[in-house]
């Protein structure tokens, strides 16, 4: 140290022969290994909604793949038909969903080839998927998704979700869990069952509110309905939005 108190670090932290030099201000620290990107989702999907009704289950998701705040892919399907009794919707990283979709489709094909009349039940798919996601999470290489699985098998409805951490149940929504709960509870609470039309109306209303309030949503969605008759995926559809109050807004004081 210089007696005048000034530190002259002209070459103090400069490049040394035979050693890796990190430029000042760089965020890379040498020698810490390869940069890991699996802990960051890239193209993501927002909420997935699910409701049980008399005779089946509805799942809905919008068709947007966001790249941060950029609405990059506006026509992607986040719902898939697993087999005639099960549907699956995913939010989170879309590349991981595509990977999951590929594996599940192959599993279903292999199962059909066995030709014994059995097919995967929604509970089986959910259980398997939860184990897979837990295993990946434990290896610090998660499938960055929250998945909603719905089904109608042996006259019983099934609706559960599974995400990169743990599995829990009931009406499953990803990001806007809290804001959708009151809307959904209002219709469903105190009633043992709701009809298919009520469920569909509820879902569409929730999708509309999500479009208004979720900054990562888009006004194009798909709905998947599973009943005893099988699976029907309806879409792409858009919600009618009401902007009448815009005229009434005047200033901020």
């Amino acid at each position: 140290m210089d007696p005048s108190g000034l530190k002259l670090n002209f070459w103090e932290n400069g490049p040394k022969p035979g050693q890796f030099y990190s430029f000042p201000g760089s965020s890379l620290t040498p020698g810490c290994g390869p940069i890991k990107h699996t802990l960051n989702p890239m193209v993501t999907g927002t909420s997935v909604l699910g409701v049980k009704f008399t005779g089946g289950v509805i799942i809905a998701a919008d068709m947007l793949g966001s790249y941060g705040s950029l609405a990059r892919f506006r026509n992607i399907s986040r719902l898939m038909k697993v087999n005639d009794s099960t549907i699956l919707g995913a939010s989170g990283d879309y590349a991981d969903y595509q990977y999951m979709k590929q594996i599940i489709e192959q599993m279903v094909i292999d199962e059909e080839l066995l030709g014994d009349g059995h097919s995967y039940s929604p509970k089986a798919i959910h259980s398997w998927l939860t184990r897979v996601m837990y295993n990946r999470r434990s290896k610090m290489n998660p499938l960055w998704n929250t998945v909603v699985i719905g089904g109608f098998y042996n006259d019983e409805r099934w609706l559960e979700f599974s995400n990169l951490a743990v599995c829990l149940g009931l009406f499953s929504v990803r990001l806007f869990f809290v804001s959708m709960q009151p809307l959904m509870r209002e219709v469903v609470e105190n009633k043992v069952e709701i009809t298919k039309d009520e469920a569909r109306a509820l879902i569409e209303r929730c999708l509309k509110v999500l479009y208004y309030r979720d900054a990562r949503s888009y006004n194009r969605h798909e709905i998947a309905i599973v009943t005893k008759e099988g699976v029907e995926i309806v879409g792409p559809m858009s919600c009618e939005t009401n902007w009448e109050i815009a005229h009434m807004v005047s200033g901020f004081e």
């Binding site: 390869p34 940069i35 890991k36 990107h37 699996t38 989702p41 890239m42 193209v43 793949g65 790249y67 950029l70 990059r72 892919f73 992607i76 990283d93 879309y94 590349a95 991981d96 595509q98 990977y99």
Partner: protein, 188 residues
């Protein structure tokens, strides 16, 4: 039709102002690379080999989707280490002309048209406004050239020369437009 500009930068230094980011992966399939060019070139080298091997095994030219899937597999399985995005476009006998994009995390999507790379953020609006389905070759060339020129104009880390390739059943046509011959827009 695919088009790219050709600037490579390392922080603030332009390492190369004329590098071709359009890589021919097979006779009628081209790939545009973006992101870390070292990663992208390594991936396309591996992909090119796999695709030509696949095409020899199948005894027919590969499907564009197959080429795009090879890139996707490489990107998805190595997503921790790689930072590269691709646009694969080409012509095959089964579906005709197609465009596929492989985004950073390894997702694969087929689209009527797509834009990518750092400069693409500045032209999403232009592309959405000016794209029409079923354009003729000249309209398409104009659309791509304008889009590239606008992106290069606003993105600091894009620039130089525009490379375009037109791929049809009959063959492949390269068009190179040097920086001074690009269309001029409002520039103040």
């Amino acid at each position: 039709m695919v088009g790219v500009e050709d600037l490579v930068h390392f922080r603030y230094y332009v390492s190369s102002k004329t590098i071709n980011k359009l890589i021919q992966v097979h006779d009628r399939i081209f790939c545009c690379i973006a992101g870390s060019l070292a990663d992208a070139q390594a991936v396309t080298k591996a992909a090119k080999f796999q695709i030509s091997f696949h095409s020899i095994q199948m005894e027919s030219p590969p499907l564009v989707k197959a080429a795009a899937s090879v890139l996707k597999e490489l990107c998805y399985n190595n997503k921790e280490e790689l930072q590269a995005g691709f646009i694969t476009a080409g012509w095959d006998r089964k579906k005709g002309p197609q465009v596929y994009t492989v985004a950073l995390g390894g997702m694969l999507l087929s689209q009527p048209f797509t834009i990518g790379g750092s400069g693409s953020t500045y032209i999403y609006g232009y592309a959405d406004a000016k794209y029409k389905p079923d354009m003729s070759k000249e309209e398409c060339l104009q659309f791509a050239t304008n889009a590239l020129a606008l992106a290069m104009g606003r993105d600091n880390v894009s620039g130089g020369v525009a490379h375009l390739v037109v791929i049809t059943e009959e063959g492949v046509e390269h068009i190179v437009i040097p920086g001074d011959k690009l269309p001029k827009f409002h520039d103040e």
